[in-house]
Amino acid sequence: MTEVSVAKEDVAATGELVVLKSVNKHFGALHVLQDIDLTIARGEVVVVIGPSGSGKSTLCRTINRLETTDSGTITIDGKPLPAEGKELARLRADVGMVFQSFNLFAHKTVLENVMLGQIKVRKKDKKAAEERARALLDRVGVGPQAEKYPAQLSGGQQQRVAIARALAMEPKVMLFDEPTSALDPEMINEVLEVMQQLARDGMTMIVVTHEMGFARSAANRVVFMADGRIVEEAAPDQFFSNPRSDRAKDFLSKILHH
């Protein structure tokens, strides 16, 4: 695998990168996010877990405003999230996002998928964009598939391309919205390995997942959500061996004892 820089040089090695303050959101009568306060430090890997319908995916999607919020503030690198337009687009370019269903551009080749944002948003010339795209594809292990279309790739390969596409924008933070939930079991590891490598390289990551193994090994902090609230936040060791809340104990007893 080739060495490619993915994280921007951290001038301030510490500090708060993503800050959510009393964020609320409703879907009709359903209060999906209830007074969410969450701070993610630069270089931190935060794993969000919880039962389905707990609002964890919604939380992830509010951070680059794919979901709007009803109240509260979200700031990224000190800047509040703009409501619409060019400002918002600029901010989204700094926030990489990986989706459950990959969402690679179906009419473009793998290489073009990774080049598009660099050329249209970062205004790089074609040659530089291609160079970086190929390097990133090599890095996630799909270099030989560069000229293929997404539908010709396996799920695991598609998701790794999606990670490369997000990294191509040199994001400050990466959001993963259940990145392995749509994958066949034997393809989960190849994606998790890429994510663990990223975590080791110091990328700031917010990961919504059901992969407890990944949470244990790569996370700095586990955030447990239930019914639209953050119920518990702890280091992974502490959370998995000694959860404080009953809700978390109940959840863990259901998923860990098979």
Partner: protein, 221 residues
């Protein structure tokens, strides 16, 4: 039996039909795409305009629209679209009328195509920082066009046959000549068959070729 045919310029008339169809096709594809962009866009004023345009125009008979371009635009308001002679003026007015009418159908075909593009495609495009118009032109519309080749082919075939309405304002296309020939000659069936065949020659290959193109460019998911 076929002697009288040499007195008429049938090929010339069909050439006018082809020109009407091609120019109107290009024009309505452009205007129809812009209308579709307005209808899916975030600006309420444009959305309202697009919706009103489509619902108004597709419910007016084409004959009324074509007649209005001549009687209303040219003879009342003096708009001649930069042409000098009566023939040129009528031709351009007919093209305008066909574009106005056909674009409403192009817009709706495209809009249904846009609905076949999964929401995640646009979300992923937004997530890498593309603006609304970039999302539309770089990601959504290219995929929408590919899934719309079939419906757009129907619109194009309908357009080709609709060019006959231009005869109403004296454009010398195929149907205009057919009417003249039927009046002058006692060969109703033969003349009708010739013109019907002429239109089939125009539209059948269009359908076949675009059907092949549609398969070729289809987006695999």
């Amino acid at each position: 039996m076929f002697d009288f045919l040499s007195d008429y310029d049938i090929l010339g008339a069909f050439w006018t039909t082809v020109q009407l169809a091609l120019l109107s096709a290009v024009g309505s594809l452009i205007w129809g795409t812009l209308l579709a962009a307005m209808r899916v866009g975030p600006v309420p004023l444009m959305r309202g305009f697009g919706t009103a345009y489509v619902n108004l125009v597709r419910n007016i008979p084409l004959t009324v629209i074509i007649l209005f371009t001549s009687l209303g635009l040219y003879q009342t308001l003096g708009i001649s679209l930069g042409a000098k002679g009566v023939e040129d003026i009528n031709f351009r007015l007919a093209v305008l009328g066909l574009i106005v009418y056909t674009s409403a159908f192009v817009c709706e075909a495209l809009r249904s195509g846009i609905n076949t593009v999964p929401v995640g495609q646009a979300e992923a495009a937004r997530a890498i920082g593309l603006s609304f118009s970039q999302v539309l032109w770089l990601v959504v519309l290219p995929q929408a066009f590919r899934s719309t080749v079939g419906p757009l082919t129907n619109v194009l075939i309908a357009l080709t046959k609709n060019t006959t309405v231009a005869a109403a304002i004296g454009v010398a296309e195929a149907a205009f000549l057919m009417k003249e020939m039927i009046e002058n000659e006692a060969q109703l069936l033969l003349i009708s068959a010739i013109f019907a065949f002429g239109f089939v020659v125009l539209t059948l290959p269009t359908g076949l070729i675009l059907g092949w193109v549609g398969k070729k460019v289809a987006v695999k998911r």
